[in-house]
Symmetry: C2
Subunit: 184 residues, 2 copies
């Protein structure tokens, strides 16, 4: 709706990083007053709901410095410049899990934190997985443990707060929903 | 897992803002090498899946400066210092929608962007909604349009990419799942 729009008066670059940039913008509000907005620019990311032939979900456990702990997530990674999301998805699946896939389809794209960041995550579903004979190399600053868990185990981990990552919770819930509708 | 841990060597404060802070940390990786991490600190947030007595979902449309456009979301807002998430949830529901509720229960908490931010969103479900006779005041820099839509409309908006917000997609999918299991 046009009448909700905030118009940029000035934009100040605070930081240009390896992954994110930070800007502080002065904006004019719909009522003519002004405010400031703190805005993180992110290149966007992919995440992959990868299903093994015995119906397990491939998860990776990795240390996330912002949280100061490891968390269990579906494979994911940020877009490289000019890269198509489906290409990133296949690469991240291969690098993080040692699997490749015959089928890779987009499921949904969503903003993760629209209040302060423009990160858009493209979620894919990967089926017909095959083990790579030579595991692709991880990024040199990336360390992960691969796990394969059933839908029931994943649901239990959400309830027990062992999984608490938005894209992963969404993917598990999606799978649960698909299986329920198949049972009808 | 302990062997995935990254140890902080140094932490540099880049920015302290009204909503977020930014740090750049030098870390020691599990293999002894070093890397840098760009870390956004966020106070955390709440989101509310609010259901009217005629089974509609209350959504708000608001302009999100990081995206440069309006988006449709469930009511949400950031935690004030020392505030319990359930208190924030009730306040945001009242301020953004003009409804209050008799029932407010936690559903799930998740990190939205664990790769670069520590934002944790606490999702609540609100039932038995009642219109406030005097609508609570919005924050002075906040402008929203309230909408009430059916689950079917929400699902269609996800498919048509009119809803593309992680917490909202999760909430809609959750509701869909609850209704399916009731039909059994």
């Amino acid at each position: 709706m046009e009448n909700l729009k905030e118009t940029t008066i000035s934009s100040k670059e605070i930081f240009k990083g390896r992954v994110i940039d930070l800007y502080v913008e002065e904006v004019e509000l719909p009522n003519g007053k002004t405010s400031t907005r703190e805005i993180v620019k992110h290149p966007g990311a992919v995440a992959v709901l990868a299903l093994t032939n015995d119906h397990k979900i491939v998860m990776v456990e990795q240390y996330r410095k912002p949280l100061g702990r490891t968390i269990v997530e579906i494979p994911a990674g940020k877009l490289e410049k000019g890269e198509e999301p489906i290409t990133t998805a296949k690469r991240e699946l291969e690098e993080e899990t040692g699997y490749t896939c015959e089928e890779l389809e987009p499921l949904i794209s969503f903003y993760t934190s629209p209040g302060f960041a423009d990160e858009l995550v493209h979620l894919f579903i990967a089926k017909d997985l095959k083990k790579l004979t030579h595991k692709a190399e991880l990024d040199e600053d990336e360390f992960v443990e691969v796990m394969e868990i059933t839908l029931e185990e994943a649901q239990e981990m959400i309830v027990n707060q062992q999984i608490f990552d938005a894209k992963t919770a969404y993917a598990v819930q999606y799978l649960q929903l698909m299986q329920k509708s198949k049972q009808k």
